[in-house]
Each structure stands twice: as C-alpha cells, then as structure tokens.
C-alpha cells in the first residue's frame, strides 16, 4: 500500500524495509530459486516462442474486447448466468453487495482474486455486515493481519512461519506450533467449517472464454473448487482483460502461466465453469451464478496505442520475481495493490496518480522484468512513460527541468562539464575520485567513491588518437556518451588501441551529445526527443557501416528507444531505424566484426578475471557470449560468478534518487564478485564501472574494475 506523500517519505519507508532482515533473506532465497525453477519448467520448450503465442492471442482479444464481452454474455446467459458490467470499482462492489443482500447471504467464502483486491471488495462487503473469509492460505493470512498482498501469486511471502503461528493461535484461541505442515492443516480444518457454512462464494477468473461463456480458474490449493461448489450463490469478479475468444487461446496462455509464475508445468487445478450447475445447498437445487465484469479503465486502455499492451498481463507475478528492487524492499513498498513492475503501471490507472507518483520513480531500468514477462510487455518503457505523464500532469521538479534544459543544449552541457573539472579540484585531492562531494550530490552518496571529471575530455584528445586506415574496409562512427567522453576518456583510448591497424576508418562526430537516457529516466520526454534528433543528425547513418559505442546503456537506448521516441517524426523516423540497425557494442564489434582470435593477443596466462554483465548489454542488446568469449580468447582466466546478470545498482539517475537501494544492490554485487576470488573485474558499460569501481574503492580497493576495452588493450599485440 502506498501512503507516502512524497519521495522523502517514500524513501524513509524503503529504508525501513531494507532493515527487515527476514524479508531480505526470504526475498534473496526466492530470487535465487525462481530462475532455476522457471528454466526447469520450460525444459525442452522454447519460452520465447510460447510467449510470442501469448502476445498474439492477447493482442487479438484486446482489439475486440467489446465484441467478446457481448459473445460471452450471450453464451453465459443462455447457460443461466447473470452477467454484469461494472464501469468502476465502486460499481462492481455495489453490484456484488446487492447480490448478497438479495439472496439473504450472511457468510461469504472467497478464493483468490486480484481483481477483488483492486476494488477493495472485502471492505465494502464487511461494511454491509457480511462475514467474508478468504480461503486461499496466503490471502487468509493477510486478511487476518488486515494488510494487502506482497506478491500476486504468493501474497504472504513477507511473513515467517512464526508470525503465521502467532496469527493462527489467535484464530483458534489455542497455541499453535510454528511447523508449516501443521499450520497448513490447521488452516484446512478451520476453513473447512467456513466452506460448510457459507451462503455465497466469490471467485476471480483467469479466463472468460467467449465461445461458450465459460470461466477458467487456475489454483493450486483447491479452495477455488470448494468456493465455486459448496455455497448456493457464486459470484465471479472478472477484469475485462480476461476475455478470450476460445479454449484454444486459454490453453495457449496456460502453457506459460504456471511455468512463469511458480515453475510448475501445470497448477494442481484448472477449473472450467460454464453456467449455473446443480447445487445441493440451493433451495431449488440450482446454483445462482453471477459474473461481474470490471472495466475500471480497461476499455479505455484497450484503445490506447501505447498502453493497450498492459492488458496482456496474465498476473503471473514474474516481473516482481526478477526485479532487483522488489527483492530489496518487498511488495508493500513496491506496489499499491498490484505489485512489481506491472503494479507500478496498474497503480496509476486503477488507484490514481497519488499512489503511483513515488512508485514509478523506483524503477532501475535493468530490463529484467521485460525479459521474463509472460506476455512480452515492455514494462520499463511504460513505467517511464507514466513517470513522464505524471510530471506533465503535476509539474516537473526543478532538478528535472534544469537537467532537461541543460542537456538539450549540447554546448551549454559540455561547457558545464568542463567547468566542473575546475570546480571539483578542491574535492579530488589530486586523485581520480571526488573526495569531498559538492553539496548538490553529497547527500547519501557516501556508499561509493564518485569519479572526478577527466582533465581532458575524449573529444579534445581525438585528433591525436584517430587511427589511420590505409585501405578501410569499414567506416565506423564512435559514439562516446557523456561518461566516456568526460569521465573515462582512457577507456575510449584503450578501445582505439584494439581497433588500430585493422583497416577500419574511425570517426568521432563532434556534434554528438548525451544519448538522452537520463532524460528518459527523469521523465523529460521532450528534451529526450530533442537530443535524440541532435544525435541522429550528428551520427548520420548513411555515412557509416557501424555506430560503435562502449556504453551498453547508450547503445540499447539508441537501438531500441530512439525508434519509439522519434516515432512519427516525419523523415527522421525512417532514418532512425537505419541508425538503430548500425549500433553495435564494443564486445560484439571485436568478436563478431573484427573477429580477433587468440593470435591477436599476447601469449601466456593472464590474471584471473570476473565479469559483470551490464543490464543494457545482456538484456538490452541480448549480448551475452561475446564479452565472456573475448576474456578467454585474450588469455584471461575467466572466473564465472553468481548472478552476473543482476543489476549493479547504478541505473544512472536512479542511484542519485534512491541511494540506499543502489548501495544495497552494489553490496550484493561486490559480494558475488569477491566470492569468485578474482581481483580484476571487467564490464562493458562506464556506468557500471563507475558504480563498481566506486564501491570497490570504498571496500578498500581489493578489486580492480575495468572496462572490457581496457582489459583487452592490456593484452592485444601491437600492430
């Protein structure tokens, strides 16, 4: 639940969550176990292909939501069901409350429904004097605690067996052992009585199958079957997004849903209910069945060109499972009712700007959610889009507006960076780190040493470094990005050493500017578009075979976001795709284009080296093999570490906004690096270098952190 009024309050809540040792341990265990279980469940299958099938099926349904609703209604009504359509959450609650009263209901049992959480249905029914009992074990636990779920599939993942034992002791008024098997059986027997007494059952549905008017419910515990069988009245509350034309589409989604959610090939139960069946507890022997469809903004969303894909979500919860931030703080702080990456988005639409405004800033943009999403939703992009919308609606904060104004004007921006070199002098003490941070940035940034601005930016070094190519076979534009140009020019110089003497003509277009990713992260869409256009002009794609960059973040931003950002920008839209197609990262260029082999490197064994896979390289660009292969080719003793592809915690502006989270992620990352025994760490992104080197320096400098261009340059044979 989100109650924080501003970012400051939200950050205080986050700090509190970070101090919850049980939560941290539980989340870590889960984060490690989930990818293994998921991979196992997809063994022998092509998950990407399965996901593409889901996307196709869901997109087709979303495009004809109204039509499917009419078809469903006709078929369900023919089978004796009353079908309702509620425009808002309040309307849905009112309809369900009225059904209860009209049928003289006193006691209600419920099976798990995120849609009912969305409408806060229990609150409404309880206010009407009805007794409502959640029967999914996790939901019952959180109901007893009067709190919301912290995970869509495992709502009580934040609680320990001891807390559950205390809770059940209160319920049974008998002391309970903290033994999970026993606690589960206590719940079974306590809840069985509730089933026996209930007059009405409320369920959700995973599918509303239009061709037959059938609802499909996916469960593991079996409570859903009791809820829909024993009481004389059954109400299903279903989001309109669950409409699907056919059993075929439902089965297509089911191929992915349990595997992606819990690493199960199939859940224990999948129940298909069509029509009001015979019911022994009904006076006339026939069940009263109602299906309440919830709109609550879904029909509008379905028509939105950008946000319609949100409705593809099948509520598997995987986006939370892999989110490094969720892992740190848990669901109560990483969502309102819906949690995880999709929760950040849904909160804005279902529960309002006020609940979403802090949340949407808390995305580190690592892309882990997008890579695992069962329905291929571009979650990081949509989160940023909402952040930008909220800023447009509520006004942009001064820091963000200033950043936007500065970055839009390359000369001003670069001038400021040059000026900063002089301003920082008292703070560096002559070292490459800022020893005493200027006031603006100092707060909470002490967890890592921040680098100083270089004495001479790369652009001023270029004319001396430009390699000569007598018979150029390729023409390459070097895109530096701010960090390399002004902070780490030596990394670019190292890259030049590797490229030199290989018949490659390298250019450094001087009008290039910041790629614009920080602006996107800050929700400054207009400025981000403006710098994208500047770079498009500077890096004229017609002139070059490749646009080479050593920054994975710049590369993935230009490659994937520019075409979206400049969509509909007339001629630019055509050109931008051509630019995107030419963008290549350094490791891929060296491995796949230059095709360097062991022959090109010094003989003899190199140092033991660990590797950190930048988010924007391994997921953003899908490059995983090349850097690791290069480390081996160049003679290093590569020592693979755990969770190499988990974010280092940098996230650009994220680390400035949420230093405590950034520090916690960095801590974890450096622990895994230290565990490899290597004292040298390579990575492909200057942002990661900044974060990791700064953290390693704070830890006493045992680990040397280098860009992969530097470690390759150290062993490449001169030409």
């Amino acid at each position: 639940m989100q109650d924080a009024r501003d970012l400051k309050e939200y950050r205080a809540e986050l700090r509190e969550a970070l101090e919850n040792d049980f939560l941290r341990q539980a989340m870590d265990k889960f984060a490690l176990a989930y990818p293994v279980g998921r991979a196992k469940a997809f063994t022998g299958m092509d998950p990407e292909a399965c996901i593409r099938d889901v996307v196709k099926a869901k997109d087709a349904s979303i495009a004809r939501l109204d039509e499917l609703y009419e078809e469903f209604k006709k078929n369900a009504e023919a089978a004796g069901v009353v079908v309702h359509l509620a425009k808002t959450a309040a309307e849905a609650n009112t309809i369900i409350g009225r059904i209860a009263i009209d049928n003289q209901v006193k006691k209600i049992v419920k099976s798990k429904s995120m849609t009912a959480e969305e409408t806060h249905l229990n609150r409404h029914l309880e206010a009407l004097g009805l007794e409502v009992t959640e029967t999914d074990l996790g939901e019952w636990i959180i109901q007893l605690r009067r709190e919301g779920p912290t995970h869509m599939v495992m709502p009580a993942i934040h609680l320990s067996r001891y807390q559950v034992a205390d809770l059940f002791s209160e319920v049974a008024k008998q002391k309970q052992d903290a033994d999970i098997d026993k606690l589960v059986k206590v719940a079974r027997r306590e809840l069985r009585r509730k089933f026996a007494e209930a007059d009405m059952g409320i369920s959700g549905a995973n599918f509303a199958i239009a061709e037959t008017g059938t609802i499909g419910i996916v469960t593991n515990e079996g409570n859903g079957r009791l809820v829909t069988t024993l009481p004389r009245v059954h109400v299903a509350l279903v989001g309109l997004d669950k409409l699907t034309p056919s059993f075929h589409d439902a089965l297509t989604v089911l191929k992915v849903l349990p595997r992606n959610a819990t690493g199960q090939a199939f859940t224990s139960y999948f129940t298909c209910i069509t029509g009001a069946s015979a019911c022994g507890s009904a006076p006339d022997g026939k069940k009263k069945m109602h299906i309440v469809f919830l709109d609550n903004g879904r029909r509008g969303m379905a028509k939105d060109p950008l946000f319609s894909e949100v409705l593809r979500c099948i509520r598997c919860g995987a986006c939370a499972n892999v989110c490094p931030v969720y892992r740190m703080v848990g669901g109560h702080k990483y969502g309102h009712v819906y949690i995880g990456a999709i929760g950040l988005i849904l909160t804005y639409f279902f529960h309002g700007r006020d609940k979403a405004k802090n949340l949407v800033q808390n995305c580190i943009n690592c892309g882990a959610c997008k890579a695992v999403c069962a329905s291929g939703i571009d979650l990081p992009r949509l989160i940023k889009e909402i952040h930008s919308r909220i800023q447009d609606e509520e006004g942009h904060p001064l820091s963000s507006t200033l950043l936007a104004a500065t970055l839009k004007n390359r000369k001003l921006f670069h001038g400021l960076l040059r000026a900063a070199r002089f301003a920082q002098r008292p703070a560096t003490g002559g070292t490459p780190y800022l020893r005493h941070l200027p006031m603006l940035f100092s707060k909470d940034q002490g967890f890592r040493a921040l680098p100083a601005i270089a004495a001479k930016p790369f652009r001023d070094m270029w004319k001396d470094l430009k390699p000569t190519a007598r018979n150029p076979r390729l023409k390459v534009a070097l895109f530096a990005g701010c960090a390399l140009d002004f902070v780490y020019p030596e990394q670019l110089a190292a890259a030049i050493e590797v490229l030199a003497g290989r018949d490659i003509e390298v250019d450094f277009p001087m009008d290039q500017s910041c790629c614009g990713l920080p602006l996107q992260m800050m929700g400054e869409k207009d400025a981000s578009r403006s710098v994208a256009l500047q770079n498009l002009t500077a890096l004229d794609p017609g002139t070059y075979d490749y646009v080479l960059t050593l920054c994975a973040s710049c590369a993935s931003h230009i490659k994937h976001s520019y075409p979206q950002i400049l969509e509909g920008a007339g001629g630019a839209a055509v050109k931008v795709q051509s630019l995107a197609d030419r963008v290549i990262d350094f490791s891929s260029f060296v491995r796949d284009v230059l095709c360097l082999t062991a022959e090109d490197f010094e003989a003899g064994a190199g140092r033991t080296i660990a590797y950190h896979a930048p988010c924007h390289l391994c997921r953003g660009l899908g490059v995983t093999e090349q850097p690791r292969a290069l480390l081996k080719t160049s003679g290093y003793d590569y020592a693979p570490g755990a969770e190499e592809d988990v974010c280092c915690g940098f996230g650009g502006t994220f680390s400035m906004k949420f230093p405590e989270l950034s520090a916690a992620l960095l801590e974890k990352k450096l622990d895994t690096v230290e565990a490899t025994g290597a004292t040298l760490l390579a990575t492909d992104c200057p942002g990661c270098v900044m974060q990791l080197r700064g953290g390693a320096e704070k830890r006493g400098g045992k680990i040397e952190v280098k860009h992969i261009a530097e470690v390759l340059a150290a062993r490449v044979k001169g030409r």
Partner: protein, 217 residues
C-alpha cells in the same frame, strides 16, 4: 498420434513429478481392490500426522468431530453394476461405499474414487468432467483421490482435449477440472505443503482396457 504405450509412460513420469502415485491395473476390478486395500491400510484420519493433533477453534473442532468413525469411500458417477461390484469388495474390508450424500461428509472422507475422462501426458494431468456435484465433491473432500485413467484416454497435450472441453461447455451447465497432483500450497515461506484444501494424495491407476463408461466426444 504418439504410441499409446509411450503416452502412458510419459503420463506416469509427469504425474510422478508432482508426487502422484501411479500404478497400472489390468481390469477395473483391480482398481476396486487397490482402493479398498488403500483405504483399509491408511491412517483413520490422514490429517492426524500433521494436523489433528493441533488444537482448533471450537466451531472447527465441532465439524471435525462429525467425521464418522467408519472408513468411507465415495464413488459417485460409477455405473450401477460396477458400483455393486465395488461395494462388495469394500464390504469385505468393512468399508462403506457411498454414491451420494457427500455434503453431509464435509469433515472429510477417506477416499474419492473416480474415472477420469482424459489424461494429458505432457503435464501428467487428469481431466474430469464433473458437472455432478457429488462427483466433484468426491475429488475435493477426500483425503486420498484414486482416479482410474483408461490408457486409451491419454492424450499428448492439453490441445488434444480442447474439442472435448468445448463439447462439454456447449452442453452447459458444465464443470470441468484438470487435476494435476495433490492439492498444494507454498504460501508459508515458500515451503511446499501438500493437502491444504483438497486431497493429500492423488493415486492414478492406468487401466489397460477401457470397458467403463466415460464421455465420448
């Protein structure tokens, strides 16, 4: 179409992965004997090992106490002739065989005995059309669920039963369940626990011949 033997093998492998107990029986009579033997040898109340010892609130305890001391198997939906045969087997072991009245047994019965309509080998799932409330309850409130699955009814994937699902639904009302392993939860500390609301064990008896009545689509 995959070879029937191969499908049965895969069905067994996948069902065992979700801790179902799978055996092969030559005739339906063997299935009756299997269920009766299982009922006779199981603990009187399977919850004992994990739960009955734990104290409950008094209303929950009251429901629990309605559980009859006798051993009960419910086999609703069985062909009357077969039911008679099965009842005779049960009687020898002092077990009551019920075909209906399960709403009066919500505290639990020992075994629910059903004949599945289909098996889905890819996931080890049973498909049970259970529009009859008694049949449905037998698979929900029993401590063990024993399901007979004619080998000829095993299909490779869920898409191979799609037509059947549609057929049942068109003939509404319809209540169809895929059952894969026993009832389970991992809601406390992500530790897997079996038998939260439904059966604690699922036994699948792969039947060599298929004389029993199942839905034909």
């Amino acid at each position: 179409m995959q070879d029937t033997r191969e499908l049965a093998r895969l069905m067994q492998e996948k069902a065992e992965l979700v801790s179902a107990k799978v055996s092969t029986v030559a005739k339906i009579e063997d299935a009756f004997n299997y269920a009766a033997d299982l009922c006779a040898t199981k603990d009187a109340c399977q919850l004992l090992f994990a739960g009955c010892a734990s104290p409950l609130s008094s209303p929950a305890e009251e429901l629990c106490e309605t559980k009859a001391p006798e051993r009960i198997i419910a086999a609703p939906g069985l062909d009357p002739e077969l039911f008679e045969q099965f009842a005779a087997v049960c009687e020898k072991q002092g077990i009551s065989l019920l075909s209906h009245g399960l709403r009066q047994k919500l505290a639990g019965i020992d075994i629910g005995f059903t004949i599945a309509d289909y098996g889905v080998a890819a996931t080890g799932s049973l498909v049970q059309s259970s529009n009859d409330e008694e049949l449905r309850l037998a698979t929900m409130i029993s401590e063990f669920h024993v399901a007979v699955l004619p080998i000829s009814k095993i299909r490779a994937t869920s898409f191979d039963v799609e037509e059947a699902l549609r057929g049942w639904a068109k003939d509404a009302p319809a209540y169809t369940s895929f059952i894969t392993g026993a009832s389970r939860t991992a809601d406390i500390e992500r530790v897997l626990a079996i038998g939260v609301h439904g059966p604690l064990e699922l036994h699948i008896l792969l039947l060599e011949d298929a004389p029993c009545k199942t839905h034909e689509i």
